[in-house]
Structure formats: structure tokens, C-alpha cells
Amino acid sequence: MIPIPRSWPASLTLILFLFMYFPIAVLGIYSFNTSRYSSMWEGFSLIWYQQLLSDQRIHAALGTSLGVAAIAVAISAVLGTLMAVGLAKYRFPGKGLYRGISYLPLIVPDIAIAVATLVFLSSIGRLYFGIQLSLWTIIAAHIVFCLAYIAVVVSSRLAGIDPHLEEAALDLGATPLQAFTKVLLPELLPGVLAGCLLAFVLSMDDLLISSFTAGNGASTLPMEIYSRVRTGMKPDINALSVVLILTSGILAFVAEYWCNSFGSSD
């Protein structure tokens, strides 16, 4: 069935792909297993997908995750775009430092962000601002990294844009605000959308930061999955994972497509 590769680069590629995707393939296959236990194959069934559809806790967690991602991404989209534009456009002292610090959440380990946020919220945040851990603290923590991702993607889009575009709009009678909304923003839109999709997927995927900053009762989908897996693998989680992988894959593909089709039109 699988063509046997003759050259070593092809073999290496095949091995690597197996290494990366075989576990996922196994998971996908077992999500259709009739057996309650993952180790045995007892026949094809869609029972776990049906169970998933009627699982209220999964529904609630999914709703929480979607809500967190949507709010965090929406806020980050506005701030991240403004940040990228501001960094590209204006010169001010300490700009390099500012840029570096803004993009830091991309490389700082999640665990550091998670612990730092928790420590901050439960000490200073609680003492002086009366902040309780809740859904909103998850959103706030997610904005930290969503903002950086969106700003990076929008920045790279900006770098490929003719710097005279805004001037051309001003020249034709547009006020600075009109130049931004009628010219710069539409030109940036593919970048903003791609950045949003990326941030959305990352937010949906996040377990670490969410579980550190979540208040009582607030549970995102990854948190719910983790708590179930701890007490043993269940086939309905396999089914859920397949759904999640497919959804993320499609979103990532769409984001990539947007970036490419609009980005390299010249």
C-alpha cells in the first residue's frame, strides 16, 4: 500500500511524518472503536461522537473556550493592529526596546506567564484591585499572548505595504482617520484576519495559562479534557480530539490561505 521510498531523504521524510502523525492517526482510529478500552479493537461505531454531542459538561466547556477566545481575540485584534501600525509609523525614544518587550510573550514559556499572572492576580490584584479569579482573568491572560501574535502577523503584512499608500490617500483629500480606515485598514485586513485565526487557535488550545488563572467553576475545553484524561483515557475524548484537530487544521489552513492569497498579490 505505502510506496517504498528508494532514496534516504524520502525514507527520512516518511519516518518523520510517521513520528509526527502516527499517534494522531491512532487516536483518530480508536475514536471509532466500539470498545470502552482503547487497547482492543471491537468494531466500528460512532457511539463516542454521539455521546460527545449529548455531553453537557463538554458543551459548557466548549462554550467557555469559545467565549474566552472570541473576547480575547477581539480585544487583541484592535490593540495588536494599532500596536503594529504605531510601531511601523512613529519614531520615538526606546522604540526598539518597546518592540522587543511587546513581542516577548511569543518566546516567554507559557508556564512563566501562567505563574506570573497567578502570583500577580492573587497578591497585588486581589489586595489592591479586589480582583477574583474568574472567566475574566483567563481572558486577560489570553490577551497577553494573543496581542503579541496578532501584532507580529500584522507587522509582517505592514512591512510588505507601500509606505506611500497613506500619503496617497491624504493627497487625494482623505483626513488621517479616513486614510487609516479606507486605505490602511483594508490593506492590512488579510493580516489582521490571519493573526486573529492564529490567536484564536492558540487561545482555544491553551491549557496551562487557563488552568492557572481560572476561577472556581470556570473551565475551558482543554481543562475539561485534562481533568477527564487524568482519571483514565475514555474514547469520547478521542472523538473530541479528532473534532478539535480537524477544526484547528481547517482554521490554520484558512489563515495560511488568506496570508498567501492577499500577501503576495504583487
Partner: protein
């Protein structure tokens, strides 16, 4: 109040007036002490090497830059502090700066829509503008689907459709290949004539400036070197820079040794005596150091034995290089004193062989004496 009114009236002789403009970026003066007036309906070019301040000058007129000192008047009104979107000028950018998310029609209609003109008027004016640049039928295309020359035309139409008082062109043909550039030059000249609009073009291409402009301002290192008609700039350069930058020339530097009523003789460092016409402005005191600029086409080359001795300046030299240019032939001639001269001759006579002795000659009136 009366005085300002009077001032406005006299200013109306000019569409653009820059008064002792200074523009600095940090410590660097991009433009300094620049005063120039551009007349209505003129095709005015600002010419100079890269970094001479010509683009900054255009941006000062467009309003993208504000002068550090001095003033910018457009059609008699002080516009020094007026933002670009309130100035009656439109710009064609070197990179065209077309809006990629809009099609050709929407690009051209952009300015008119901002003015909130009635839909019918927008439609008819966009159609006219596209016709003027020969792009009717391309309205629905996006900029990415157009060639460089077509994008250039869209940029032109997008500016012209607003009926600006002055059209600003920043190296408009710089990105086009030679053949297309020649074509667009003709079209620009035609547009200028048929619209009767004031054009201000920035270019580093002297040929383009000479062939298109009514008047040219030559800039160097942020300063205006000379302003005049193309023939004035070419035939009567005021500085050695202008003589050298516009076309090819031979510059001979030296000290004044003799002078009579109408001619001056200077001697170069190598000892070559050169006669040149005395400029009328030197009737009083004569500068001690002069540069003479002689265009390659003004120098005659002859075989030694056939030399005529009627010219003021007549020297023996050796033919060091021959470049065949088709209609013309360019010679490099080394004089006995060591100077090298470039000579351009029409392709008529038989080519002399390399390293033969030749004679070069020109009369005092062929050169242009400049203060060194």
C-alpha cells in the same frame, strides 16, 4: 489688510512659490535656502542626483513635509502649515501607491468620493480620466492585474481626475523600461498640452527633464544650483556642477593669465592655455580662477595635416579611445599637456586609427567660462 490683498494679487503670477525654504532632518539639511516660483501652466522639472533634496522639495509642495523655515504658497495662498488633504495639488508617486484592495475605477474615484460629489459626476469624471490615460475598458481590473505602464496610467488618472491646480510627479517614469518610458514621456507632454495644467516633475533623468520641461531647476546638496529653460541649462550653465551634471562636458580648470576686451585666457595646472569668451558680468572685476566647460560635440577633431588654424584653441593630441555609438562616434583624446578630452563627432568621416596624432580645436565662444 490692503497690503495682504495686494500681495495676493501679485502672487497670482505663480502657481507655486517657495520662499527661502529650509528643511532639516535631525542635523541634516535636506533643502536649504530654496526660493523658486512656478508659473501657471508650466511644465517644471526639478532635476538633480539622488539625495539632492528634489523629492523633499516635492513633498514640501504636496504637504507631506512641513518646512523648518520659509514658506510655501500655492496659487497665492500661504499653505506652509496646511495638511496635504487640504491642498489643491495631487501627486503621482514613483511607486504609484495604488490601492490594491480597490479596482481601477475605485482607485480613480477615490478622491471624488471623498469630496462627496454626486454619483453621476463621479461616474463621468472617472470615465473621462480613464479615457485621457487610454485605460477605458480596464475599470474593473485590480492593480495587480495591470502592467507597470498601466499602473502608471492609473496613478495619473487618479491624480488628474481631481482637477488639481498643480500635478506633482515624483520620478513618474523611473520604474518603467526604456521603451515604455519614451512612450510615456510623449503622453505626459501631450497630457500637459491638452490639459493646460501646471506640472511639477522630479527626476534624475536629465534627458527626460530636457525634453519635457518648460523650465528646469537643478538641485545639488539641498541647494538650487540653477533655474532656467532646458537650453539655458544646457548651453549656459551657471556652475561647474550644472555643466557637468547636464549632458557630458569637458571641464578645464585654471588661473586667468591674459584678458582683453572680449576674451580671457586661462592656463590649466598642466600648462594648457585656453581662450574663452569674457562674460558680460565680469566687466568689472575678473575672477582669478575659472573653469571652462566645453561640450564634446563643440570640439572638432581633424587629422594633423588637414588642421585648420582659425580656431582660438587648437591643440595636438593622441587618440586614446574610440567608442562607436551608431549615429555618433566618441573619442577620448589625450593632449600633449596630459589633459583628456571627450569629443563627439557625427558618424560621417572615416574612423581614425587608435594612437594617431590628431588635432582638436574649438573657438572661444564654444566654451562656457564659470567661476571655479
Amino acid at each position: 489688510m490692503e497690503q495682504t490683498l495686494a500681495a495676493v494679487r501679485t502672487d497670482l503670477a505663480f502657481d507655486i512659490e517657495l520662499q527661502t525654504v529650509l528643511k532639516t532632518f535631525g542635523d541634516e539639511a535636506a533643502v536649504q535656502d530654496l526660493t523658486l516660483q512656478i508659473r501657471p501652466g508650466e511644465f517644471f522639472s526639478i532635476l538633480g542626483p539622488s539625495g539632492c533634496g528634489k523629492t523633499t522639495t516635492l513633498r514640501l509642495i504636496a504637504g507631506f513635509e512641513t518646512p523648518t523655515a520659509g514658506s510655501v504658497c500655492i496659487q497665492g495662498q500661504d499653505m506652509t502649515q496646511v495638511p496635504p488633504y487640504q491642498r489643491p495639488v495631487n501627486t503621482v508617486f514613483q511607486s504609484y501607491a495604488l490601492f490594491r484592495h480597490l479596482n481601477v475605477w475605485e482607485n480613480v474615484a477615490f478622491g471624488l468620493k471623498l469630496q462627496k460629489l454626486p454619483r453621476e459626476e463621479v461616474r463621468s469624471r472617472v470615465a473621462t480620466a480613464l479615457e485621457q490615460v487610454k485605460l477605458d475598458g480596464f475599470a474593473k481590473r485590480t492593480p495587480a492585474q495591470l502592467s507597470g505602464g498601466q499602473q502608471q496610467r492609473v496613478a495619473l488618472a487618479r491624480a488628474l481626475v481631481n482637477r488639481p491646480a498643480v500635478l506633482l510627479l515624483d520620478e513618474p517614469l523611473g520604474a518603467l523600461d526604456l521603451k515604455l518610458r519614451k512612450e510615456m514621456q510623449l503622453e505626459l507632454a501631450h497630457l500637459h498640452r491638452s490639459l493646460g495644467l501646471t506640472f511639477v516633475m522630479v527626476t534624475h533623468d536629465q534627458e527626460e527633464a530636457l525634453s519635457l520641461s518648460d523650465r528646469i531647476a537643478v538641485m545639488n546638496q539641498g541647494r538650487l544650483e540653477q533655474m532656467g529653460t532646458p537650453s539655458q541649462i544646457y548651453e549656459e550653465p551657471e556652475t561647474a556642477f550644472v555643466a557637468d551634471f547636464i549632458g557630458d562636458t569637458n571641464l578645464l580648470r585654471g588661473r586667468v593669465s591674459h584678458s582683453n576686451g572680449s576674451t580671457v585666457q586661462l592656463v590649466t595646472e598642466a600648462g594648457l592655455p585656453v581662450w574663452t569668451d569674457r562674460r558680460s558680468e565680469w566687466n568689472g572685476t575678473l575672477p582669478q580662477k575659472l573653469v571652462v566647460s566645453i561640450r564634446p560635440e563643440k570640439i572638432r577633431v581633424s587629422q594633423l595635416e588637414a588642421a585648420g588654424h582659425d580656431a582660438h584653441n587648437c591643440y595636438a593630441g593622441r587618440l586614446r579611445q574610440v567608442m562607436y555609438l551608431g549615429p555618433n562616434i566618441q573619442f577620448q583624446i589625450e593632449l600633449a599637456t596630459g589633459e583628456h578630452l571627450t569629443v563627439l563627432q557625427p558618424n560621417r568621416a572615416r574612423l581614425p586609427a587608435l594612437d594617431t596624432e590628431v588635432q582638436v580645436s574649438w573657438s572661444a565662444g564654444d566654451g562656457r567660462a564659470l567661476v571655479a
